[in-house]
């Protein structure tokens, strides 16, 4: 059986490289948003790729990105569990930006006034990072990673309806922050 690949099969490694490495930045981006910490994100992505390589034989394509993301999400959840078990590090892991999180109050809506203010990328990153976990995950998978609802549902292991409600909630919170900031500028 010449084509039955083992972990040290160079042909398998070549196929894996071609299929999975193009998504390294995407995976790292997702890990950064999920874990809110650069070092942990690196570790998680490395672990994700090693697991993915080991399970590459059972990969059933064609969408490599959500497949990698599902693995990465499991790795990140293990990291959440580890943080929960070590309370001190859990507090340290909360980035200082979370302290400055906007108040998610419903801003007085001004339907006629177009929102003018543009956020720079750092502001967006900070606000997205401040979203609560399930909303943040769904929002990042949709707005930053461009996954379809179906793909998000598969990665997050929830029904599509849940994806829609989480996304609606995440967007509503960010919009409130945006509107609130707009009000302050006045």
């Amino acid at each position: 059986m010449p084509s039955k690949a083992s972990d040290d099969d160079p042909e398998k490694a070549r196929r894996f490289r071609e299929a999975a490495l193009p998504y390294l930045d995407d995976a790292y981006t997702l890990a950064r948003y999920l874990l809110r910490n650069a070092d942990d994100a690196e570790d998680a992505v490395q672990e994700c790729y090693l697991r993915a390589y080991r399970h590459f034989d059972s990969y059933r394509g064609p969408a490599m990105k959500p497949w990698l993301f599902a693995i990465l999400r499991n790795v990140c959840r293990a990291e959440y569990a580890r943080r929960a078990a070590t309370p001190t590090s859990a507090i340290e892991d909360v980035p200082e930006s979370a302290e400055q999180a906007p108040l998610w109050h419903e801003a007085g809506e001004t339907p006629e006034a177009q929102l003018q203010r543009r956020w720079d990328s750092e502001t967006i990153r900070r606000l997205v990072a401040a979203l609560a976990e399930p909303f943040r995950e769904t929002f990042v998978l949709r707005e930053i990673q461009n996954l379809s609802y179906r793909e998000i549902a598969e990665v997050a292991e929830v029904p599509v309806g849940t994806v829609m409600s989480r996304l609606a909630r995440a967007r509503a919170m960010l919009r409130s922050a945006w509107l609130a900031e707009e009000e302050q500028q006045k």
Partner: protein, 254 residues
Amino acid sequence: MTCDEAEALLHALIDGELDAGHTREVENHIAGCPRCAAALRDYRAMSKMIAEAGVHYTAPLALRQRIEAALPRPQAAPNRRAVLRGFAMGSAVSALAATGLVAIVLRRDDVERIQSEVVSAHLRSLQAGHLTDVVSTDQHTVKPWFNGKLDVAPPVIDLTAQGFTLVGGRLDYVDARAIGAVVYKRRQHIINLFVAQTANTERRSAKIETVQGFNIRHWSDRGLNYWAVSDLASDELAEFGEKFEATARTHREG
């Protein structure tokens, strides 16, 4: 449509996930509701702003290098021990097999790539010693050989009486996964019949296309995708496919 209903569907509209009927309903509501119109406008502006701001991160070079280093190089002598050390961590990925991720749905843009991969696999198989992993003209030997090597064993049908000799079976790789290949011969021409699982159970009738000088007859039936590849003339390959499908039908009914 109420504002609550519209708000729930606004997002699907923005994301292009809404069907035509609901799109019309939401748009009708928005036309008469400044509040929902403002929400839609803001959400769209927000998506655009995020897309334009560039909020991706770039993986550090060191991370890329560490991952590269953990994969076996094509030139280097394989060192199983080193690789296994790197992969000593446990895993929860087997649960993945239960999710819809394993479903194989061929997108339009994948069709051409897969055709070319099928032809490459056919060409590889013609090199000396690569044609078969199991050599047998007996379908009752070839079929069980596949069991346990693939999620779904391909149907192995003896077509000797119809002029196509069963030669054996082989594991191959197409679209980055293991796939069964059943090998037939007519005169000196080899036919590779590649069989893969598909999520789509509807029957798709056969199409013959020519890729790199080889003919491919592709069809789907009962959750399986078939590609018959050969340098046989297209009418003879069509005959092969028809005989295969007809015999498969008789087997099911018998």
